[in-house]
Amino acid sequence: MNVMDFSTLLDLIPRELSSLLPELFLATGILLAMVSEFLPGGTRRGTLWFSALVALCSLALSGIEPVGVLQTGLRFTPDVLTQFVRVYASLGALMAILAIAGSDHWKARQEAGEAAILVLAAALGAMLFASATNLVSVLLSLEFLSLCSYGLAGFRGRDARASEAGLKYVLYGGVASATALFGMSHVFGMTGSLELREIGQILSMGGTDASMLVPLILVGIAFGYKLSLVPFHFWAPDVYQGAPAIAAGFLSTVPKAAGFAGLIHILLNLFPSWSPLLPGSALPTFLALFGTLSTVVGAVAAGMQKDARRLLAFSSVANAGTMLVVLSSWITAEAVAALGFFLLVYLFANFGAFLALDRLERHAGESRLDNFRGAWTRRPATVVALAICLFSLAGLPPLAGFTAKWSLVREVLRSGIDGSLGMVSLVAATAVLGSALSLAWAYLGLVRATAVDDVETSETPSVSILSGAVLAFCSIAVVVLGWGWPVLDLLRLRLAG
């Protein structure tokens, strides 16, 4: 039992707080931004700029703040992985806020400032989730992240499809959270502890029976929903279609990074002895096949879409599956580095793709492929950036998507040949590489409509330099990270330490 007397708790609070400095800073920033919304002289743009500044400072703070040694007995235990998610979420939030500030579809809207605050809050939730090592903190940060996501998804409130998106997201998300809570209460009931590490110790002592599988499966299902893995992915296309494009870009990337960090923490804590020395464990095989299923189904479904946003939604399902596959290798520094690099590239490529759609859609949500025909005549640079992001998502060299997929498949096969995964890893690797075909077919549809078809259109949405700059940053990052081996090596070294 995890019993703490009051004085120990008082003693722990300052230590815990000091290890959460970036989160505290971000929380303060969010509160100030909310206040600035109501200041008599304050403008909506002012809130946007202030939020961007907060995100930038949070990025800097997360990058330089050293991660302390692992402290036990706390609700939040930040480690290198947490630091990665902190940087990731801050960067994602910064790009999203700048894109909102520059987007034509948001210019007329009064709520742009509120959206920026929601983005920051979602980033905070992601950061907290990535350091939570206690069932209560896991659940609370998950809910925090989810609530902000619901708000962002339903932001185009007056549009029927947007309302559908928001409502669907809330309902699915609520069910997922409830499932997780239900499972966690079982875990607590069986082990008498909320600390993941202690639960792991009890599990490894063999003090439980097969009935422990039920709550674990329930928690797993909740993760499946949040990460949009097949067969729990049905919300994703509707939500990404109805949400503002920039919000969809943010929601498809940052929560995913947090989700995988949380999943790794849970797996590492619950199964501390999980290693290649345990060939009997069915969990790696299960993870590999689960990920393969998502990869294949997502890729095939993406190839059948006639709507750019639904296409990107299914491609994100496929990508989430690919990322899950790498967890099937026992969690080495190399594998997590490959996953981190993949996530980083995915942020630039996927966010960039959604941002490009935002710049090309004449009216928000008009995302049928036909609507983009001849876009190159109006916005050649945006179309080039979109093509770069899409080809990277398909994993074509010399773009970063190839480098990411290459290192990921490499770790999967390593766990098959050096480890105990065996033939399953070959199946998974083949699926990951082969799904690129179906994804390429899907992306080529969009590339063909935007870059090849020549339909003269007179109507031109106004676009801003700011969102163009963010898009340029994304596409240049995708090209530069194609030679991202030093970044990959850096991640590996940090994680190995």
């Binding site: 190839f402 490499r410 033939m423 075909l437 080529l444 063909r448 870059a451 078809d453 090596d489």
Partner: protein, 563 residues
């Protein structure tokens, strides 16, 4: 030092793409700059080729390996030997020719930038010796080629471009998978593999202490006590060493894969024999590009839809990459699989020769006809490869160059006709010889070159692959079958010549066609001159290809003999 000279192949297209992107979108200016950009590359390739011929070099003239990330086993490893130098020279020539053909109208700047990126991929594929980077450049050609067909092609261009893209990518996926399997099936802790002494003498270098190295690995031999010790370079030449070894570990390096050839024969992966599995996966990847029947369906479609200049590039150089990949990666690494299945591989080649020939006979569209004749002619390459003797291997390489010249010339000729008539139906012409006499001479020359008339380059390539196949008992029957393909190619080309050039003028409106212009002729003249030169003096090129082929053949026989 070497690598700085070779970087011309990477710097010129990269900077060229940037330069063309910055320059104004003036068609004449862009074309002139594009042509000017090729000359450093052409000059370098010819110099390398000349150096290789003069030195009778069997190995790499220049080779450099720079570790990029040792922890991941990635190195920037480039090298040029007779095979890559010859193909790079061909590639530069084809690039000049293609640039002289008028670029298709519209989006001029994008067109020229994409062509530069395409050739960056071509150069990288011919030069890189690290599996991962080889794959990067191999795939790099996909994106520009997709746009070049999809934007500037004919009426079905988009479908053709997507078909090309997906076919090639479907081949690349098994290729990449095989590369990973080779990496992870490599000896995890390093192993001593025996090496052929002749290869050490030919390819080896002298290290810092006068010790021999082979592909940057120390060459070792057991001393009196049986302990492996470094071999002095002099001892090798003087023949004091009966057998040598090199320590090889897991690697993405193609040359290390080659050294591990004896190791692959006895390795299993996931309970399956590695060599046949990886061979099939890699062969699929390269065979799509050649293209080998039955993986050829993308080619006629892509050729018909692509603009003339891109058809020239596709037939002239891109198809050669498949043969190059087999010669560089697959044949040295899995000699036993090749030798065991020579009959099957040769039959695949002969099948392509005959299938392509019959299909060409039945075509009504001139471009489709040339496309199927390409499939037929590239079948000879596979036949020569299957024979795996020096004559067959060098014949396959020679046939690559010869076909590069003949197919490009045929596409240019068809382009001239299309330019005048705006259609390519064989039955839509007649008596063109009366209207365009100068053009008819060129057309006849191209047809003779394609049909393998003695005295022209095509004859040498086809003859030496057939002779090579005959010399290997396993490939005699495929060789005989392919020989009949020569008759077929004479048949469909001469029949076409007869229908298009001779007879009465069947379409009076064609009387107004102007004869071939000097600019069109200027694009074709180097191809014609070179095919005549190589036909009369094949040794000019064989001197570069022969030693490399002989070395590869000896390596293959040696590895197979180890069993």
């Amino acid at each position: 030092m070497d690598v700085y000279i070779l970087s011309v192949y990477f710097v010129v297209p990269l900077l060229g793409a940037l330069l063309l992107g910055v320059l104004p979108a003036n068609a004449v200016l862009q074309r002139r700059v594009s042509i000017a950009l090729v000359f450093p590359v052409l000059l370098a390739s010819i110099s390398f080729l000349a150096a290789i011929v003069l030195r009778e070099s069997t190995g790499f003239l220049l080779r450099e390996r720079i570790p990029v990330l040792p922890s991941l086993g990635i190195a920037w490893h480039v090298g040029i030997d007779g095979l890559s130098a010859a193909l790079l020279a061909l590639s530069a020539l084809i690039q000049v020719v293609a640039a002289q053909v008028s670029a298709p109208a519209g989006r001029t700047k994008l067109y020229h930038v994409l062509v530069q990126i395409l050739f960056l991929g071509v150069h990288g594929t011919f030069l890189l010796l690290d599996g991962m980077f080889f794959y990067v450049f191999w795939e790099l050609m996909l994106i520009p080629m997709f746009f070049l067909i999809a934007i500037w092609g004919g009426s079905e261009r988009k479908a053709a471009a997507i078909k090309f893209f997906l076919y090639t990518m479907a081949g690349s996926v098994p290729l990449l998978l095989a590369m990973f399997l080779l990496y992870f099936s490599g000896p995890a802790t390093g192993v001593m593999v025996p090496v052929r002494l002749q290869e050490v003498i030919e390819q080896g270098r002298v290290g810092a202490l006068g010790e021999a190295t082979l592909y940057d690995l120390p060459v070792l031999a057991p001393d009196a006590g049986g302990v492996p010790t470094p071999v002095q370079s002099n001892d090798l030449v003087e023949g004091k060493i009966p057998q040598a070894y090199v320590p090889v570990g897991r690697s993405f390096d193609i040359l290390h894969w080659k050294l591990l050839a004896p190791w692959w024969m006895q390795t299993t992966v996931f309970g399956m024999a590695l060599a046949p599995l990886a061979f099939v996966l890699m062969f699929l990847g390269f065979a799509v590009k050649i293209p080998s029947v039955p993986l050829h369906a993308w080619l006629p479609h892509a050729h018909v839809q692509a603009p003339t200049a891109i058809s020239v590039v596709l037939a002239g150089i891109l198809l050669k990459l498949g043969v190059y990949g087999l010669l560089r990666v697959v044949w040295p690494v899995f000699p036993n699989v090749v030798l065991d299945h020579a009959t099957l591989l040769g039959a695949l080649g002969a099948l392509a020769v005959v299938w392509g020939g019959f299909a060409a006979l039945g075509q009504a569209d001139l471009k489709r006809l040339v496309a199927y004749s390409s499939i037929s002619h590239m079948g000879f390459c596979l036949l020569g490869l299957a024979a795996a003797n020096p004559q067959g291997l060098s014949g396959a390489a020679f046939q690559c160059i010869a076909h590069g010249l003949s197919a490009s010339l045929l596409f240019l000729v068809v382009g001239v006709l299309y330019d005048r008539a705006h259609h390519r139906r064989v039955d839509g012409f007649g008596g063109i010889a009366q209207i365009m006499p100068k053009f008819s001479v060129v057309f006849l020359f191209a047809a003779m070159l394609g049909a393998g008339l003695p005295g022209l380059a095509g004859f040498v390539g086809e003859l030496s692959t057939i002779l090579g196949a005959w010399a290997n008992p396993a490939t005699q029957w495929p060789g005989l079958a392919a020989a009949s393909g020569v008759v077929l190619s004479a048949g469909y080309l001469l029949w076409t010549v007869q229908r298009v050039l001779y007879g009465p003028v069947r379409h009076p409106e064609q009387r107004s066609f102007p004869d071939i212009t000097s600019r069109e002729l200027a694009a074709m003249a180097p191809l014609m001159a070179l095919s005549l030169l190589l036909g009369l003096w094949p040794n000019l090129l064989q001197a570069a290809l022969g030693p490399v082929s002989a070395s590869l053949s000896a390596h293959m026989g040696w590895v197979a003999g180890l069993r």
